[in-house]
């Protein structure tokens, strides 16, 4: 039995989503290999080789994979995949983009966003925006799975020394090309990897006011997030969104400011260890999941909080 984990990386850096996915792979038993496909991705491959429990790292270093284009990536993974029982990727925007395509090429179902491994063919996954947890059993011989990273602890980043093997398969489907990207530049930790997250909602009133949250985030080395309402209103960019259709986070501390607590948002953060809610509406649903609730005007409370930290 063997499992291939598709690494999440930025060519020069391996992302922690990979470490969480390796833990899920280990829960399946059998040998774990990691595929690092990218352009100039040797550093990411070396980092993957240092994860304890990884037996082998495959590196497909080719311009066709530099931007993780789904058409090229899926062709590569489907070809390599015939040698494995399980193909796992984190449920990041890359994983979600590529893996269903892999599953279709292999004529198998995909099991999306698992949060637990029950047995070799049975898994738990949230449905209906996390209001229901389904236990599902796959009847396909080969299983293509995306992993919700908050469901599995991160494997250690150091301690292993797996062999690195180059893969020379070059798949350029010629169907799509990368035009450009605008990535948020920030010195703060990434939302999905941060130990503390400070999020703002519609109550922030505008994007300028997010500076108040940044002051708190700076003190706590926290990432800044937002509710869908705040993103839809244009206060902050889409990559801030925490929720069922945005990012799923589970930090040690989640501070929700001016967020009412729609089901959609709760689905993205309710596995946080400690939740703090600051809202002037004492009936806001966010207080039903908060460990510590403060009914207050955020424009007074947040600066006060920043000063007190």
């Amino acid at each position: 039995m063997s499992t291939l984990v598709i690494a999440e990386h930025s060519n020069n850096e391996l992302k922690s989503a990979t470490h969480h996915t390796v833990t899920a792979a280990q829960a399946l038993g059998g040998e774990v290999h990691v595929l690092v496909a990218g352009g100039g991705c040797q550093a990411a491959a070396e980092a993957a080789a240092r994860i304890p429990g990884v037996a082998k790292v495959l590196v497909a270093d080719n311009a066709a994979y530099a931007h993780q284009l789904a058409e090229n990536m899926s062709a590569l993974i489907a070809e390599l995949g015939t040698g494995y029982d399980y193909l796992l990727a984190p449920a990041t925007s890359n994983g979600k983009n590529v893996m269903p395509r892999v599953a279709a090429l292999l004529d198998v179902a995909q099991i999306s966003e698992i949060t637990a491994v029950i047995s070799g063919d049975t898994f738990q996954r949230p449905i209906y925006a996390g209001n229901v947890i389904a236990t599902v059993q796959s009847t396909d011989a080969r299983k293509v799975i995306t992993v919700r990273t908050t469901g599995f602890d991160a494997a250690p980043a150091e301690g292993g020394s797996a062999a690195i093997e180059a893969v020379s398969i070059a798949k350029d489907a010629g169907l799509s090309s990368f035009v450009g990207e605008s990535l948020a530049k920030s010195d703060r930790p990434e939302l999905t990897a941060a130990r503390v997250v400070v999020s703002g909602g519609r109550g922030m009133q505008n994007g300028e006011n997010f500076k108040l949250l940044e002051a708190v985030a700076d003190k706590l080395n926290a990432a800044v997030g937002a509710s869908r309402a705040a993103v839809d209103a244009g206060f902050v960019p889409n990559d801030y969104q925490v929720g069922q259709t945005g990012k799923i986070v589970a930090p040690d501390l989640y501070i929700a400011v001016g967020i009412s607590g729609a089901i959609q948002h709760l689905a993205g953060m309710k596995d946080s260890k400690v939740i703090v809610a600051i809202n002037k509406d004492e009936d806001a649903p966010i207080f039903q999941v908060a460990d510590y609730g403060l009914v207050a005007d955020l424009f007074q409370a947040v600066p006060e909080l920043a000063a007190a930290l």
Partner: protein, 249 residues
């Protein structure tokens, strides 16, 4: 250019869904059903392309039991030209839906498929990507902007770190994210007109597709309950609790 959109009948997004007490499924008795919100965005985008003269025809497809006609009529009222229902009593999983759509794409000679990125019931986020793979098409998933020019689709995608723009050869599959557009409301005259638009019915057998499920749901249950904590009276008390009780700062 022919555009195909798929619309799924799902529990309305305002309904709080619960697992049945015996774990056998989700309680859907007398629950309001609607068009999946991401599918509605797909219909709106297709209709806008037709209004701009880019698309010549918009075909709305739904797959499932007879009741899915309602969601097709909704799409027709929003501006789609005609509908196709693939009728079956079987439970359809994403791979089966992708195969059925592939068969329709081939039959109709479609240049662009726009579907929602996920449905709010199964939360699978698979069908569009699977369809693209089966039909050998390019894909632009999680789109926040779509431009058709020079025989190509330029798609801006919402990705974890921000936005990515890709250029796709046509035919292509685009899956919609929340901020692609804001769907219109159907006007009463358009709802009346929609009733007269063409709606054909096919079966999986007509399309030669095996729709047998690949996955079984063994049980469903509510997620672990999170208990409400306490209200603090001041910022000072909050900081004290976080430091000395929760020990997270």
């Amino acid at each position: 250019m022919k555009v195909l959109v798929a619309v799924k009948r799902v529990v309305d997004y305002n309904v709080k869904v619960r697992a049945k007490g015996d774990g056998s499924g989700v309680d859907l008795n007398n629950v309001k059903m609607s068009i999946n919100p991401f599918c509605e965005i797909a219909v709106e985008e297709a209709v806008r392309l037709r209004e701009k003269g880019v698309a010549t025809e918009v075909i709305a497809v739904s797959l499932g039991d007879k009741a899915c006609q309602e969601q097709i009529r909704t799409a027709l009222a929003l501006g789609a030209d005609r509908g196709i229902l693939v009728e079956t009593a079987e439970e359809l999983q994403p791979l089966a839906v992708a195969k059925l759509l592939q068969a329709i794409v081939a039959r109709e000679g479609v240049d662009l498929v726009i579907v929602g990125k996920q449905s709010i019931d199964g939360d699978n986020n698979q069908t569009g990507q699977m369809l693209a793979a089966l039909a050998g098409m390019s894909q632009g998933s999680f789109a926040s902007e779509l431009v058709i020019e020079n025989g190509k689709a330029r798609v801006t995608r919402e990705i974890d770190g921000g936005l990515q723009t890709v250029e796709l050869a046509l035919p292509a599959v685009v899956t919609t994210d929340l901020r692609l557009n804001e769907p219109r409301y159907a006007s009463l005259p358009n709802i009346m007109k929609a009733k007269k638009k063409q709606l054909d019915t096919l079966t999986p057998a007509d399309l030669g597709v095996d729709v047998a499920p690949r996955m079984r749901v063994l049980k469903v249950e509510p997620p672990p309950e999170r208990k409400a904590g306490i209200k603090v009276g001041s910022v000072a008390e909050l900081v004290d609790k976080l430091r000395n009780e929760a020990k997270v700062i």
